[in-house]
């Protein structure tokens, strides 16, 4: 376990370093801000290694508990930011994505770090796919919200078409992943609780989220919704994600506890 904690701390340090490098390189014309990518890559590799070790130790995809789910979330956020950096040269987006990943990893630190065996209720591939795709989708929706803020403030430094493409990819891929999460979650609920549809508050709000992003997908290509409306929808969507994930877990007794 100590190796995974060390890798967790190392990943955190690399993400902080990435922001520092970006800030330091910004006023210096002879240094490209693209060098901030490399600490992010190093942190990402630390996280991948950490996930691989936990997977080997636990014998299952490590997506149970706060520590592992937050790592998974951060992994997707950083992977998306790196994809944007290499594909669209969106280096200005790195600090925001790193900030998001750092917040997720700090939150992860609050959870138990031991590799726990699966209890009978979650010892099913449906659970693992459900959680993995949920957090991947949450990560992409989060990146979409950050990109929308960048677009609104006009600080991305990327061409408008690239900005729009990045935002759209996050929402589109996030929605597809979330759809898979809903299908596997429903199947799991059918086998465990007796119905693919349950009137439990977490499930209901997940459907609200799914319908919300269904609506966003329907209007995102329409001329009247380009520009600021789709930015607002992306940010509001992530607020909904945060409430569904954190708000419900903190305010209500749910079937999906945070810890």
């Amino acid at each position: 376990m100590s190796s995974t904690i060390a890798l967790h701390n190392l990943a955190l340090a690399f993400y902080v370093l990435s922001i520092v490098v970006w800030v330091v390189a910004r006023p210096i014309k002879s240094i490209s801000q693209s060098i901030a990518v490399w600490p992010a890559v190093a942190g990402f590799l630390c996280q991948v290694l950490q996930v691989a070790i936990r997977w080997k130790q636990g014998g299952h995809l490590p997506v149970t508990g706060l520590f592992e789910t937050q790592h998974f979330l951060a992994l997707w956020v950083v992977a998306t930011a790196l994809y944007f950096a290499f594909r669209y040269w969106a280096y200005n987006f790195l600090p925001a994505a790193m900030g998001f990943a750092i917040a997720a990893l700090l939150f992860a630190s609050k959870g138990p770090k031991t590799v726990a065996p699966l209890t009978p209720a979650i010892d099913t591939p449906y659970f693992l796919i459900h959680v993995a795709t949920s957090f991947a989708a949450y990560g992409l929706f989060g990146v979409a919200a950050l990109m929308a803020i960048y677009r609104t403030l006009r600080i991305s430094g990327s061409p408008l078409a690239a900005e729009r493409r990045m935002l759209d990819e996050c929402i589109y891929f996030g929605y597809i992943l979330f759809t898979w999460a809903m299908i596997t979650g429903s199947l799991w609920a059918y086998l465990t609780w007796g119905s693919y549809w349950t009137w439990r508050i977490k499930g209901l709000w997940s459907w609200i989220l799914w319908f919300y992003y269904s609506g966003v997908l329907h209007v995102r290509s329409r001329p009247g919704w380009q520009g600021w409306p789709v930015n607002v929808l992306a940010v509001a969507g992530f607020v909904l994600v945060l409430f569904t994930y954190l708000g419900l877990g903190l305010l209500f007794k749910t079937s999906h506890p945070l810890l």
Partner: protein, 350 residues
């Protein structure tokens, strides 16, 4: 000069365009989300057990029997139902419209499959809500009990508890058999995440289990000793039946009634209840009762290992499964279209 049909054609065209517009669907979706969000929170704060109670009924039964009693707190559920149907109509028209316009090309096929899959899931949900049933049945080990509301019997052959190295119960493994008209139609071992599935009927692992009262031996005037076990009716000489209506375990209390004990119910040939009485060996509790002229005297309670099983029957489940598969394939096709591997729907341009 315009022909008289033209205004009508224009109006119909406008109605069709509004009905098949994605914006109509989005507006309905927003209203649906707002209603469910507000209603779900209000319901929770009014009664934190609201959802658990709702889950124990098929939805239509809940709407018919429970919702009117909690009105106006259940108003949002009625609104939700109305909005759901409007959303589905909008989705159906959009899908038909797509099929009429674009069926010769594969462009947008992924999105079409997603819509079709969702429509099938909804149809399955409506069918399951209207015709499905959910029952609980208490089965003593080695015994067979009738599943209420279904023409089925459930036998619990064996129940064992899986424990952690510290002795904490983790799971149960139950060997069960499902019988229809005396013929075993399904059976096997069930545990968490591995229920017994027989077509549209599913038997889930026990919600509760343990050693406890499962019935008792009674003396009945004119019939002698009667051995009653939960889930099985005993027929008396005049075709009246006796059965266990409920059980309280040791230390349990319902109002003024203390456990252990059992509620004995007498029914006539037509299955109508003629009377009932709670019998218990606890001092101060009745151990004798007269029901419809029959004197019942409690001899002793029978204790055994028992399991409280849930049995669900959902006639819409196959539509839901087919719809889910289509929806799942649709997302793959849509993804491939988005990535340019197959013809895809339009992407936004700035």
């Amino acid at each position: 000069m315009a022909s008289p049909e033209k205004p009508l054609e224009k109006s119909l065209d406008l109605i069709w365009r509004v009905a098949t517009s994605p914006v109509t669907f989005v507006v309905l979706t927003i209203l649906w989300c707002i209603d469910l969000a507000a209603g779900s929170i209000a319901a929770y704060f009014n009664d934190p057990q609201f959802w658990i109670k709702m889950d124990s009924y098929p939805f239509n039964l809940w709407l018919e029997q429970v919702a009117p009693k909690t009105f106006p707190l259940s108003l949002w559920v009625y609104i939700l139902v109305a909005l759901s149907y409007l959303m589905i109509i909008s989705l159906l028209l959009c899908t038909i419209n797509w099929f009429m316009r674009r069926r010769k090309r594969l462009k947008g096929l992924g999105e079409f499959l997603v819509h079709l899959g969702f429509l099938l899931i909804f149809a399955g949900f409506v069918l399951g809500s209207a015709l499905g049933s959910r029952s609980q049945v208490n089965v003593p080990q080695g015994q067979t009990a009738k599943v209420p509301g279904m023409e089925l019997d459930l036998k619990l052959e064996n129940l064992s508890v899986v424990r952690s190295p510290e002795g904490r119960p983790l799971d149960t493994i139950s060997s069960v058999g499902l019988f229809q008209d005396g013929v075993r139609v399904a059976g096997g071992k069930i545990r968490t995440n591995h229920p017994l599935i027989w077509g549209k009927t599913v038997v889930y692992p026990p919600e509760d289990y343990g050693a406890g009262v499962v019935g008792g031996v009674l003396g009945a005037s004119g019939a002698g000793a009667v051995r009653l076990i939960s889930g099985r009716a005993v027929t008396l000489a005049d075709d009246r039946t006796l059965e266990v209506g409920g059980i309280l375990q040791r230390g349990e209390r319902r109002g003024n009634v203390l456990g252990p004990g059992m509620l004995v119910v007498m029914k006539n040939q037509a299955g109508r209840t003629m009377g009932s009485a709670y019998l218990s060996p606890v001092p101060g509790m009745p151990d004798k009762a007269d029901i419809a002229g029959v004197r019942l005297t409690l001899g002793q309670l029978t204790e055994s290992t028992y399991g409280l099983f849930r049995v669900h029957h959902d006639p819409g489940i196959w539509l839901v499964i087919i719809g889910s598969v289509i929806l799942f394939l649709g997302t793959f096709w849509a993804l491939a279209g988005y990535l340019g591997i197959v013809p895809g729907a339009a992407k936004p341009q700035e």
